[in-house]
Symmetry: C2
Subunit: 455 residues, 2 copies
């Protein structure tokens, strides 16, 4: 499908000079992908512009970080998913600027110097959120978040590497510092990471070391709030707390992180005392900030943002004064909706439906109504908490529910099969099939800034 | 198993102060792993010291680079493989120095500032080989080799990234340059890479792009020699050449690489003419050099090395004057044996047997005798060449043989299952299950040195 655009090597590339209505979707996460799919029968030209070539199934990222799944299983190529949908083009590039008058977004691809422009008639922005360190960006180096494949592989290297390096330590204190894991943030990601690291230490890695007893690993889950999984309701929060404790996770609630460095973390306890925790491996699952393009959009349209940088949208997910610009998923703030996959999926679909309705002169849905399908978090194998409609489940029924629903939402038959098999290996068995780390991404983390105290 | 060593935080760590005979194995590739396993019943203390935490099944690395397999499937953790062998300790660290008088190797782990010492009574060195650029190390940045997980993921990013970036180009010449792939070196790795890239272009990626027809990709296989797969014998070399041509690979024999840069490769053709080939993605599979520790050993023992830096060993794989130091696999040069997995496996086992025999005062095997079990290389799906004993097979019988033998040598039941499944997805189907790349390792390769000509 050659495009008949004038070729001028010195000018930025201009995409989709179509005569049909052009829908540009920025982002290939849940919001972007489901918006594109919802437009499959629409008489429009859809362009999906995303900074990664893959769709990312973020809720299972913690399993890549802990060696259960491979990155391919949760990150299929977006263009493979959308191959048969002939009205969609997928472009690799990070949106950097917008001209709302000319209706053009300027993007830049990694590995390509020149930027390129993509025009639109309707725009759906779904670039999601990144980790927020609440004004302390210097924490990031020592306590990576868990938002991308890079993050997951980095953490995989650090977690397995911590045990490798502990095995080299003669001094029990040095060993202990290596295998003390501090997870900051007791939402679903933090709870799942803490639970999985405890499983690694107590089951998967047992017996592999000669100096280190992996069961001596300490896993801390730290949050300034007074409960874990606050969005799940008191009953499930209490259950989750009990189960985490039984698993050996030290849950430190009402505890504020004051500082993070290469060798530890400093917290303020509920009683006001300041405590230093020696820990080489820290994981940040505490806060989110809207992706940088939210700020670009706010500047260009005058839209307001909240404290996390999310754009305040009208009830139909558009920006005030710009009925052609939809913002969906983690990037928008509306009715205090949570930053979860279901909000992104449903708002992405809503934007697509609204665009199609407009084209046909139909009124279409006036306002986005979120249908809460529930939430769930795994704690360990055969153990989860789930809140689905009126049902509150814990233990293995919740875990089974989690398994079925996650398998259902995974993209691609082949990924479902290998994922199911890898779960069997990890949960019925005790292995971790995907422990391999790269030399570049892993293990080198505390050498970056040589610490004179380190030995 | 706490070691009773004096703890002195300022002194380097000293491992294995055992009263039993101490065997130190450096490297966890085929040579090191099979040596360790061969010592499972020996009354010795074995330490495996390796710079990666995994054993690497190198012959399938090209499948990680082309999205068929995940890195975990070919790189299980060494300590997991050896968990039940209680006389083995696995240590993460790169050997940097040796004191042959004190019988101590000094190593350093990534992420740990202080070096540590490991003592030995017998030493088996199996640190393998890395890519050689024949005195042109500056080629490495533009044409990565395929020796490690890092390499494979880097190449995966570049190969899939090439098509992604081609989709952004308006100018047909720029598109063509993006999807011209130059593979240098027509040994097994080069042939397999070229064949797989051709399969990607012609089958797996077909229909995923809107501007690019992936079938227009050009795959070149370049070698200064006059035949492909020189070690396979004339008959199979000819067959392989025919099959590669049928697959659309441009095989350029008798062709010398003169220069490699970000945007292309310059070659000297058999007729003496110099030709510039515009190609953004180059892969180097041409030469090997022994790992840097070979040089350290040569310095310390006065042993000789060949042009590739490999150590000349005595017929029993020991260094002259050092009957306690064995060198096995790709690091040694002996009887012009090839640098293949079987030589590493058999010489590793031989060294282990020899050590055990000596301990029991038995004569043991006097000299290493290599038993050639044959060689094989895949060309495309259902197509390979294989030379096993008196059998010379091509086409699907060779491919089936390849499949069975590689499955057999893969470590771990779970990896065999998922590998078999991924092969079904890729060969019976047309997908690639493991395409996901990281942002850090991939796609950014030609941005590293912005080229004023690049657009």
């Amino acid at each position: 499908m050659e495009q008949s655009v004038p070729s001028n090597p010195s000018a930025p590339l201009s995409w989709n000079p179509s005569s049909r209505h052009r829908v540009l979707i920025i982002g290939s996460g849940f919001g972007g992908l489901f918006a594109a799919k919802a437009l499959r029968r629409a008489e429009v030209d859809v362009t999906v512009l995303a900074s990664t070539p893959h769709h990312l199934f973020q809720p299972l990222l913690y399993q890549v970080a802990t060696g259960i799944l491979s990155q391919g299983e949760i990150a299929p190529a977006s263009r493979e998913i959308l191959r048969r949908q002939r009205n969609v083009s997928v472009l690799l590039g990070t949106a950097e600027q917008i001209d709302t008058a000319a209706r053009t977004v300027t993007a830049r691809a990694p590995g390509r110097t020149a930027p390129f422009d993509v025009g639109y008639d309707s725009l759906i922005v779904a670039t999601g959120a990144s980790q927020s360190y609440f004004g302390r960006p210097e924490f990031a180096e020592h306590a990576p978040g868990l938002k991308s494949i890079d993050d997951a592989l980095e953490l995989r290297g650090r977690i397995f590497g911590a045990f490798e390096l502990a095995e080299l330590e003669e001094n029990p204190r040095d060993r202990a510092r290596r295998i003390t894991f501090a997870v900051v943030g007791a939402g679903a990601t933090g709870v799942e990471m803490a639970g999985q690291i405890a499983e690694l230490a107590h089951r998967a890695l047992r017996g592999e070391y000669r100096r280190v007893d992996s069961r001596e690993a300490r896993v801390l889950l730290i949050d300034a709030a007074d409960i874990v999984l606050p969005s799940f309701g008191d009953h499930l929060s209490d259950k989750a707390l009990q189960h985490l404790k039984k698993l050996g996770v030290e849950v430190r609630l009402g505890t504020k992180v004051e500082d993070v460095d290469a060798r530890g973390i400093t917290v303020k306890n509920p009683d006001g005392s300041v405590e230093r925790i020696e820990s080489m491996t820290k994981i940040w699952a505490a806060g989110v900030a809207a992706s940088p393009f939210a700020d670009v959009l706010a500047q260009a349209t005058g839209a307001e943002t909240d404290r996390a940088g999310r754009l305040k949208v009208l009830p139909d997910c558009t920006l005030p004064g710009h009925p052609e610009i939809f913002v969906v998923g983690d990037m928008m703030t509306l009715d205090a909706l949570p930053g979860v996959a279901q909000v992104a999926i449903q708002s992405g679909k809503f934007a697509a439906e609204r665009i199609e309705a407009r084209l046909h002169g139909r009124p279409g849905p006036e306002r986005f109504r979120y249908r809460d399908k529930g939430s769930m978090a795994t704690i360990s194998r055969f153990d989860a908490v789930a809140s689905v409609g009126p049902i509150r489940a814990t233990g293995w029924p919740a875990w089974l529910l989690w398994l079925v629903i996650h398998l259902f939402y995974l993209v691609g038959f082949e990924h479902r099969i290998t994922t199911l098999f890898h779960w069997a290996v990890s949960f019925a068995g005790r292995g971790r099939a995907e422990r391999a780390v790269t030399a570049r991404q892993a293990l080198g983390h505390d050498d970056r800034k040589p610490d004179p105290q380190a030995n």
